[in-house]
């Protein structure tokens, strides 16, 4: 039995080693190490598992390398939409948010819902109003959308346009 422990993931995707240069790999490892430390420090001071997982996820939400918070993937509209959930194994209480756009730390909003709301899951503007009512930090799109993600999104839209232009693909 461990005194305490934390484990994290930063996403699983179909990627080949050739697609990732050493610099990016090191950056990923540094981001993971930062998040681990954020959670471990909470546990080492006797903090709760709930606070530890929030701290670790907050660290990755701030890191534009990960698909959460700042630097997250963009929708077909070129916008960010976030989902998050947190669950307490002791009380079985839950906090979850869906399709929120301006909340800097979606996992922290989920935790406030776990602590203060009678409901488990809030979505969209209702969730954002709950964040406002609880003085959580909201940010404009310029905080979340990184140049890399914007470029990837533009490329994707360009591809979609070209596909439509292909002969035989138009309909009058």
């Amino acid at each position: 039995m461990k005194k305490f422990a934390i484990a994290i993931h930063g996403g699983a995707e179909t990627t080949k080693p050739s697609e990732l240069d050493n610099k990016k790999e090191e950056a990923y490892k540094d981001g993971l190490a930062d998040a681990l430390k954020a959670g471990y420090d909470v546990l080492e001071k006797g903090g709760s598992a709930l606070d530890a997982v929030e701290a670790a996820v907050n660290s990755m939400e701030r890191n534009p390398l990960f698909n959460a918070g700042r630097g997250a993937s963009l929708t077909e509209r070129g916008e960010n939409e976030f989902d998050a959930a947190i669950m307490d194994g002791n009380t079985l209480r839950v906090g979850a948010v869906g399709a929120v756009r301006y909340v800097q730390h979606p996992i922290s909003l989920a935790k406030v819902i776990l602590q203060k709301c009678d409901y488990c899951l809030l979505v969209g503007t209702g969730a954002e109003e709950f964040a406002l009512a609880n003085n959580l930090s909201l940010k404009g799109p310029e905080y979340f959308v990184t140049p890399e993600k914007k470029e990837a999104w533009l490329d994707k839209q360009q591809n979609k346009v070209e596909k439509k232009r292909m002969p035989g693909s138009m309909t009058d």
Partner: protein, 134 residues
Amino acid sequence: TVGAVALDINGNLAAATSTGGLTDQLKGRVGDTPIIGGGTFANNEVCAVSCTGEGEVIMRGALAHEVYAMMKYAGHSLQAATEKAIQLHADKLQGDRGILSMDSSGKVAFGFNTGFMKRGYWAADEEPFVALWE
């Protein structure tokens, strides 16, 4: 998607998952992350779970709860239950899956069918561990 599971000094487990969703997804699409039992689940008696990958596959398979159920009702170990949840209904539910789980003793399991999962683990008084590839 990012996630964390933890065991604290009082023996409590917790799970957390946060995501920006799928690139180019429809406005209003919500994935597995906030679906309790789908992408996120925790129960002190058994385990804490956080999933990543293609949300539709994870939701339809209720994969976070599957890890819990296979340990609680079928007596599987954390690692075996996690690996079984990665393979579950593979014929009907094709898509990337990654599962991070921790049991009530602080043991960890990583399951993924993508060959690449950004992950890390740090237990009390041990060295931290981070990895990317299988």
